[in-house]
C-alpha cells in the first residue's frame, strides 16, 4: 500500500512573536495536523501495512526545510510543487488532485486544517474532485479486508462517529490521532540522501488561479478586562443585577 501525505509549511504556532503577524522571517514548521498525518503514515508502514510513503507540498524553495523535516521523520521521498503564489484551499485541492493522479496512492492522509489559515477545506475538496470517499477529523484508523477499506473514528460535535471508507480515500487527521515523534539524528542524516522531486504546475498539467484573495489581516479588538469580584456573594449579585444572566 502506498500513502501520500500532503503537508503545508506554516508559521510556528508556538512561537508567540510570529503568531499570525507579518513579522520578519517567522520560524516555519510543518503544519501540526499534517505532522500527525505523517506520523500516522509512519506507524501504518511500521505495522507492515504500507510499503511507501510519499510527501507532497506546495511552495518556494524555502519550504525545503520542512520537507527535510518530513523526510527526517521517516517518509520515503517528497515532491515539492514549485508555486509561491498565495493559493486558496480550492486551488491547493486542484493542484493536489494532479499530484494524486501522478502518484496513484491507495490512501491520502492529511491534516484536517492548516493552523495559519484554519479553513478546513482542502481534504474534503480533494475528495470531491477525485470522487473518492472521505473521512474527516479522524482520531483512529484501521485497515480492513486486505486493505480495501479503512475503518475510521471521527471526532464530531455530537461525539465519536465510526465510518468505513472504500479505498482509495482521503483521511484528514484530528489532534488525538497520535503524538508525532521527534526527529532523530540518524533520521536527519538519512533525510539528506532522500530524493526531493521539484515539479511545476505546468509539468503536472494543471492551471489554477486562486478565487479567494486575502485583502487585509488585522488583530481583533482586545477584549477589555472586567471587574474583579471579592466573593461568591458579590459575583452572584453582579450576575443578577449587572449581567442579568441569573
Amino acid at each position: 500500500m502506498k500513502i501520500l501525505v500532503p503537508f503545508k509549511s506554516v508559521p510556528d504556532p508556538n512561537d508567540a512573536t510570529s503568531a499570525g503577524a507579518a513579522v520578519s522571517a517567522p520560524k516555519s514548521v510543518i503544519n501540526p495536523f499534517d505532522e500527525i498525518a505523517i506520523e500516522e503514515a509512519l506507524r501504518i508502514r511500521e505495522r507492515g501495512e504500507a510499503t511507501e510513503i510519499a510527501g507532497v507540498t506546495i511552495g518556494a524553495p524555502a519550504v525545503d526545510e520542512q520537507i527535510r523535516a518530513a523526510l527526517a521523520m521517516g517518509i520515503d521521498r517528497a515532491i515539492r510543487i514549485d508555486d509561491s503564489r498565495a493559493l486558496d484551499p480550492y486551488a491547493v485541492a486542484r493542484i493536489l488532485r494532479a499530484a494524486v493522479a501522478k502518484e496513484t496512492p491507495h490512501v491520502v492522509i492529511m491534516g484536517k486544517q492548516a493552523v495559519d489559515d484554519d479553513s478546513n477545506q482542502v481534504g474534503q475538496m480533494l475528495a470531491g474532485l477525485l470522487s473518492w470517499p472521505q473521512a474527516t477529523f479522524v482520531s483512529k484508523i484501521e485497515f480492513l479486508d486486505t486493505k480495501t477499506r479503512a475503518r475510521c473514528t471521527r471526532e464530531t460535535d455530537a461525539g465519536l462517529e465510526v465510518v468505513e471508507v472504500n479505498l482509495p480515500a482521503i483521511i484528514t487527521t484530528d489532534l488525538r490521532l497520535n503524538e508525532p515523534r521527534y526527529v532523530s539524528l540518524p533520521g536527519l542524516i538519512k533525510a539528506r540522501r532522500k530524493p526531493i522531486e521539484v515539479l511545476t504546475c505546468d509539468q503536472l498539467g494543471v492551471t489554477v488561479r486562486p478565487l479567494t484573495t486575502v485583502l487585509s489581516v488585522a488583530r481583533p479588538a482586545k477584549r477589555a478586562a472586567g471587574t474583579r469580584v471579592e466573593s461568591v456573594e458579590e459575583l452572584v449579585t453582579k450576575l443578577k443585577q449587572e449581567a442579568k444572566v441569573l
Binding site: G20, Q134, L175, A243
Partner: protein
C-alpha cells in the same frame, strides 16, 4: 430561483438552533433564499422551518440519506444548489458542515470561505471577515466566480425571527441508486447526558486541569452546569487527563453566550475559542492567569471553596 441556499443541520429530531443563524447572513446578502434539509423522516423538521422567510424549504428525504455521509450529502447539496440556481451556499460552522460543504464546493467548482463573522460591502463587491491563526487575527477575504460557499460562526449572527408567512415545502427528487456509496456509517457514540449540547447551550461551565480527576470534575463543573441548566466544557489538558470526553473540549466553536471558566489559566487557543462570549466568569487561584485579562468577572481564590458556594447560592436564587 433563490440567490442563496442554506444547509440546515439537525439531530434527526429537531433543527440545531445555531444552524438558523446562517439565515441572518443570507438576509444581509439580500435576495431570496431557500433552506435545504437532508435526512430521512424529515416531516417535523421541515414543518418547523417554514416561517423563516425563505422562498421554500427544500427537503431531500430518503433512507439513503439517513446518516450524514459526506459523499452522498455533498452530491445532493450540489445538485440542489444547481437546481435552484443558488449563487451562495451557506451553512453554520460545525463538524457537519465542515465535512460536507467543502466537498460540495468542489463539485460546484466554487471557492469557499470558512467561519465568516461579518461582511462588508465595498465598491459593489462583498468581502468577508473571518478569524485565522486560532482566532488571534482576522482576515478580510474577497471571492471571485459565479458561485460561492460560506460557513458562518453562529455567535457572530443573531438568530432569525420566525414570523414570516409559511413558505412551501418542496421535495427534492433524488435517485438513491445513483448516489455515491464509498462511505458506510458504522456507529455513533450515544451521549447519555441530559445536559444540553455544548454547541447549543446558553451557558457553558468549563474546567481545567486543577479539577484533578473525573469525579471532582463531575461534582464541581457538572454540579454548577446542572444548577444553571448549562452544558459542560473542558480544556484540552482536562480532556487529555481523562477528566472529560473529547467532545467537551472548548475549541473554536465560538458559540457561547455565557462562559464560566473554573481552574483555567487560559492558553491562547482556549482564549480565542471563548473571546466572543458575552459574559465570561473566571475562577482561578492565580491572580496573573491570562484568562483574567478577558474575564467580565474575575474571582481569585480556591475553586474547591468557591464552586460549592456558588452552586449553593445559585440553587437558592
Amino acid at each position: 430561483m433563490a440567490e442563496s441556499l442554506i444547509l440546515i443541520e439537525h439531530d434527526r429530531e429537531q433543527v440545531k438552533r445555531p444552524a438558523l443563524h446562517a439565515i441572518t447572513l443570507a438576509r444581509q446578502l439580500g435576495g431570496e433564499y431557500a433552506l435545504l434539509v437532508l435526512g430521512h423522516g424529515l416531516d417535523g423538521i421541515a414543518a418547523s422551518l417554514v416561517s423563516y422567510g425563505a422562498s421554500a424549504v427544500v427537503v431531500a428525504d430518503d433512507p439513503a440519506l439517513a446518516e450524514p455521509l459526506a459523499d452522498r450529502y455533498a452530491t445532493v447539496i450540489a445538485e440542489a444548489a444547481r437546481g435552484c440556481g443558488a449563487k451562495t451556499i451557506l451553512g453554520t460552522s460545525s463538524t457537519f458542515s465542515k465535512d460536507v460543504l467543502p466537498r460540495a464546493a468542489a463539485l460546484l467548482d466554487a471557492p469557499m470561505v470558512t467561519d465568516v463573522v461579518d461582511i462588508e460591502e465595498m465598491d459593489g463587491s462583498i468581502s468577508y471577515r473571518r478569524p485565522i491563526n486560532a482566532g488571534s487575527m482576522f482576515a478580510m477575504v474577497k471571492m471571485e466566480g459565479d458561485c460561492r460557499v460560506l460557513t458562518v460562526r453562529a455567535t457572530a449572527f443573531e438568530p432569525p425571527a420566525a414570523d414570516a408567512a409559511p413558505c412551501p415545502i418542496k421535495r427534492f427528487h433524488l435517485d438513491a441508486a445513483s448516489l455515491p456509496n464509498g462511505i458506510q456509517f458504522i456507529s455513533r457514540e450515544e451521549r447519555t447526558s441530559d445536559r444540553p449540547d455544548l454547541t447549543e447551550a446558553r451557558v457553558v461551565v468549563s474546567g481545567g486541569r486543577p479539577l484533578k480527576d473525573k469525579e471532582t470534575f463531575e461534582r464541581l463543573v457538572g454540579g454548577l452546569a446542572d444548577a444553571l441548566g448549562g452544558a459542560i466544557g473542558a480544556t484540552r489538558a482536562a480532556v487529555d487527563a481523562g477528566m472529560a470526553p473529547n467532545d467537551y473540549q472548548i475549541g473554536q466553536t465560538g458559540k457561547i453566550e455565557w462562559y464560566i471558566a473554573i481552574g483555567i489559566s487560559g492558553a491562547i487557543q482556549h482564549l480565542a475559542g471563548i473571546k466572543d462570549s458575552r459574559i465570561i466568569v473566571a475562577i482561578n487561584k492565580d491572580p496573573d492567569a491570562p484568562i483574567f485579562q478577558m474575564a467580565t468577572y474575575a474571582l481569585v481564590g480556591d475553586l474547591y471553596q468557591i464552586v460549592p458556594q456558588l452552586i449553593e447560592s445559585i440553587r437558592q436564587a
